[in-house]
């Protein structure tokens, strides 16, 4: 083994504080070190060239660069060693800038000592490192889009037009979703179905889109690049290709049932066209209502069908697909107004929901009067939104504007009408929204700031009395209305909940699907290869939904377009010689990436590389690449080696995403913290096993700190629980050896908690000072106190 060590001056950033020559001299005495150089700018062209030349001249097989943070220049040096013909993982950086020169700039001697140790840690880590092969997955061009509302339609069209193969699965007999039910769209007042139906037709005509309506996802297994999907295609009993939608069947059908498209306000036949703009434009038989099925008792529709499209014997079909990526566009349901009984929905005949109002307006425009709207109309806002009493704390974002739209349409249709909107806060945040609100006010719509407690019906006239505090005048006002419209909020649809369950997607506290990162990965889900678009992710209006759908399509394309997908090399792996197939790791894995077939097997497509499984294994059979037990133990050993008498050393494990980045930030801001804190980079502190902590104390650690991402921003689910459990076990061992438990601490972080980081780092040293030196015999006791697991 031949190691080259390169100490960077960083143009004075490091060398003004740290004596780089001393660090270089110290490094040259470490085992297997063949070449040591100190160079002004390692990241420069000439710095990188020095590495490449030395690899060629001295046959180096491993490299250590003592410079800045690996988060900053890690990729640069990986590329440099690759160019030199080495495995890209054959380089480790010692972060002597952000972790030594900068935070300890007032103590150059201590900073130099710390830089030496950080370099020694890196040298020992690279000595024990194993080459990691680049793992790629073959990616095809097949996408499953779940849900045929505007989000699913937009995503499908974008993907299909870019040459990808799209399977669009919709539960209902027609695509179009809620948008197809709407009257007009705010703030432009375009007719919703007029702008939507050309897009629906495009879906039907696009050769790259395989449309499956009246179909449900039953099961999804596998992972990115290889999702296996099982779909149930329910029988329509009408051949989509033959049906001409002549409507003769509907005319003769004797069975009438409530029409769900009109929310049950009108009736439809058992054989029906889902809507006038339905795609596929074909009739369908409602098998629960039809008299013609099993046994055949009617058969009238079949007799009149000239196209011969009706087949009473059609059976459910099961379709199996293999797709590379999935887009979830399962949409919303409206809030169930029955859950607010004080508003009398379904009890008072003149209380309806806003979606019903949409249908009434559409039907009215087409000449069908579903019901009389009357003169005076009230809208009640925030029904089922912003309401702790029903558990929905969120704002549904669209109700202010749809109520403004419906109120404007009603007022314009009949200016003598009195239209009131009872609101709590009016949110007109989008492009053109404020202007639209103003237009409604100009029309004479009255916006009253107050939330009615309950509605009362006049038993004779069936008019509804709204009693509300006008909170701006502090007067209680009462007014009778012909119709009250409840502006119901949005809730995750049943389909969204089911699909989240099937795909194992986490949902946020509001019940909508959680994104991988709320700021930077807003259309990615935490599961690789699965994206989310539209109201499945949270309430939003049509433009936002369309934008998000296009974004999800673009994210899916960028994953598939290269034809291969390079996985993060940090993955769990199993030592088959040690594994006895007990399955404890299966339960420990938060993303279900492990299964046991005789021995544990890791699905690298699913594994996110957190390392939560490692501490669950009683036989040390599961480990993590790049951050293996051996490599981390090497760093711990070197951090504690040659510790002088009376010296204190704290080991801080820092998760890469939050704590390590935070430590870099603290260093960059030149905030001082105790130089006796040594940071070890891990993907997640959940991979630090209890035994690792115990060994560290045995070898001389005076305190251990574990930093981890706060749950909300963490790339890995549920790691804090694992850390808590591991810390508990390690503390117990300390207690049994007579060592203070307080010496192990952990905390969640986000990357901006500079003060908290400094305070906690210093606190660890204070705790060590408070309790003093750990006597040698107590440390020796730890040797026999390894955590034993019960299988």
């Amino acid at each position: 083994m031949k190691i080259g060590v390169y100490v960077c001056h960083c143009g004075g950033n490091i060398s003004d504080v740290v004596d780089v020559e001393k660090v270089a001299e110290f490094a040259s005495k470490q085992p297997d070190v063949t070449v040591v150089r100190s160079i002004s700018h390692m990241c420069s062209e000439s710095g990188q060239k020095a590495i490449i030349d030395d690899v060629n001249e001295y046959n180096l097989d491993r490299v250590v660069v003592a410079a800045c943070s690996p988060q900053f220049q890690g990729e640069t040096f990986k590329k440099a060693v690759s160019k030199a013909g080495l495995n890209p993982h054959m380089v480790v950086m010692a972060n002597i800038r952000e972790q030594s020169a900068w935070p300890h700039y007032e103590e150059p001697e201590k900073a130099t000592e710390k830089a030496k140790i950080l370099t020694a840690m890196a040298i020992e880590k690279i000595r024990r490192a194993k080459p990691v092969e680049r793992e790629t997955l073959k990616m095809g061009k097949n996408v499953l889009v779940i849900g045929g509302g505007i989000a699913g339609i937009q995503a499908s069209l974008d993907l299909a037009n870019a040459g990808f193969n799209v399977y669009l699965v919709e539960k209902k007999p027609s695509i179009g979703g809620h948008m197809a039910q709407l009257s007009r769209t705010f703030p432009t007042e375009d007719c919703a179905s007029c702008i939507l139906s050309p897009k629906m037709a495009d879906v039907a005509e696009n050769p790259n889109i395989h449309l499956m309506t009246y179909s449900e996802i039953l099961e999804v297994s596998g992972s990115v690049g290889n999702f296996r999907v099982r779909i149930l295609k329910k029988p329509k009993y009408v051949d989509e290709d033959k049906c001409t939608a002549c409507n003769k069947c509907t005319e003769v059908c004797p069975v009438s049932v409530p029409d769900e498209f009109n929310l049950g306000m009108t009736m439809r036949k058992a054989i029906y066209l889902p809507s006038s703009v339905a795609v596929p434009h074909s009739h369908v038989i409602d098998e629960d209502a039809c008299l013609g099925l099993r046994p055949l008792a009617c058969g009238l529709c079949s007799e009149v069908c000239e196209a011969n499209a009706i087949n009473y014997d059609e059976m459910p079909q099961y379709v199996n697909l293999k797709v590379d990526t999935i887009i979830v566009a399962t949409g919303f349901d409206i809030f169930n107004a029955l859950l607010k009984p004080q508003y009398g929905y379904h009890k008072y005949r003149n209380v309806i929901t806003a979606l019903e109002m949409e249908r009434i307006i559409v039907e009215m425009a087409e000449g069908h009067l579903i019901r009389d709207v009357g003169k005076d109309v009230a809208f009640i806002q925030c029904v089922g939104s912003r309401d702790a009493q029903v558990g929905n704390l969120y704002c549904s974002r669209i109700c202010c504007m749809y109520a403004t739209k419906l109120a404007s349409l009603l007022k314009r249709a009949d200016p003598s009408r009195e239209v009131y909107v009872f609101y709590t806060d009016l949110r007109a945040y989008g492009k053109g929204f404020e202007e639209y609100y103003r237009t409604a006010q100009e029309l004479g719509v009255k916006f009253i700031r107050g939330r009615p407690g309950e509605l009362m019906e006049d038993p004779e006239s069936h008019k509804v009395v709204v009693r509300v505090e006008d909170t701006l005048t502090r007067k209680i006002i009462e007014k009778e209305f012909d119709l009250v419209v409840l502006s119901v909020g949005l809730v995750p649809s049943e389909g969204t909940k089911e699909i989240a369950e099937i795909l194992k997607l986490p949902r946020s506290s509001d019940g909508f699907i959680k994104e991988a990162h709320p700021k930077f990965r807003p259309v990615d889900t935490p599961v690789d290869g699965i994206f989310v678009a539209g109201t499945a992710q949270g309430p939003k209006d049509i433009p936002d939904t369309v934008a998000q759908a296009s974004a999800a399509a673009a994210r899916a394309m960028s994953l598939m377009n290269k034809g291969e997908y390079e996985m993060s090399p940090i993955k769990a792996f199993v030592d088959e010689g040690k594994c006895d197939g007990c399955g404890l790791c299966v339960d420990a894995c938060p993303v279900d990436a492990i299964k046991v077939v005789n021995k544990a097997e890791v699905n690298v497509g699913i594994c996110k590389g957190c390392g939560s499984c490692i501490s669950s294994c009683p036989r040390d059979a599961i480990d993590l690449k790049i951050f293996s037990n051996d490599e981390i133990m090497a760093e711990i050993e070197m951090a504690l080696k040659d510790k002088g008498k009376g010296e204190k050393r704290i080991i801080m494990f820092a998760d890469d995403m939050c704590t390590y980045t935070l430590a870099d930030g603290v260093g960059t801001a030149k905030l001082r913290y105790d130089s006796n804190v040594y940071i070890i980079r891990v993907p997640s502190s959940s991979r630090v096993t209890p035994n690792m902590m115990i060994r560290a104390f045995e070898m001389g650690a005076d305190g251990i700190f574990l930093g981890e991402c706060e749950e909300a921003v963490s790339p890995y689910p549920e790691t804090l629980k694992v850390i808590e459990e591991n810390v508990k076990k390690a503390r117990e061992a300390l207690r049994n050896a007579g060592i203070e438990e307080e010496r192990i601490q952990y905390s969640p972080f986000v990357t901006v908690m500079f003060k908290k980081f400094v305070n906690l780092a210093n606190k660890m040293v204070k705790i060590a000072d408070k309790y003093g030196e750990i006597p040698e015999e107590k440390r020796r006791k730890l040797r026999v106190l390894e955590v034993v697991y019960d299988d």
Binding site: T424, R451, G453, V468
Partner: protein, 134 residues
């Protein structure tokens, strides 16, 4: 009538803190939707509406302590079960009453009604003791 200008001073901040401390509720959570007022069976009798009481409590306006409304409150809890912010308004109203009660002033002297005592309904005596003695 001219518009009154209220100077917000330290004492107002203190009163707001006191109300939160006694009630255990965060009154600043109130978004002033007024659902409490329209749900309140006694609102018609009150000089300040329940939502108004919440508003004055947020600012720490001493007017709230002088209001009759806090004594008219029947503690029926309808406001509490309807508040979309999940505030227990009944607790806030009770805190406001407590601030007055804890001043230790007796508004009735028990000796004055000694003779009528046997004729008075027991519940009225209990209420009187609770409300009018410190």
């Amino acid at each position: 009538m001219m518009t009154e200008i209220m100077q917000v001073k330290e004492k107002n901040v203190k009163l707001h803190k006191k109300i939160e401390e006694l009630s255990g509720e965060i009154v600043t959570l109130c978004e002033q939707c007024g659902i409490c007022t329209t749900s309140c069976p006694m609102a018609d009798e009150m000089d300040i509406t329940p939502a108004g009481i919440m508003r004055l409590s947020q600012i720490g306006d001493e007017e709230v302590l002088k209001s009759k409304a806090i004594w008219i409150c029947a503690s029926c809890f309808t406001c509490t079960v309807r508040c979309p912010r999940g505030i227990d308004l009944a607790k806030v109203t009770e805190a406001l009453r407590q601030i007055t009660l804890r001043k230790n002033i007796d508004y009735i002297d028990f000796n004055d009604i000694k003779d009528e005592l046997s004729q008075l309904p027991a519940i009225a005596v209990v209420s009187a003791l609770r409300k009018f003695t410190g």
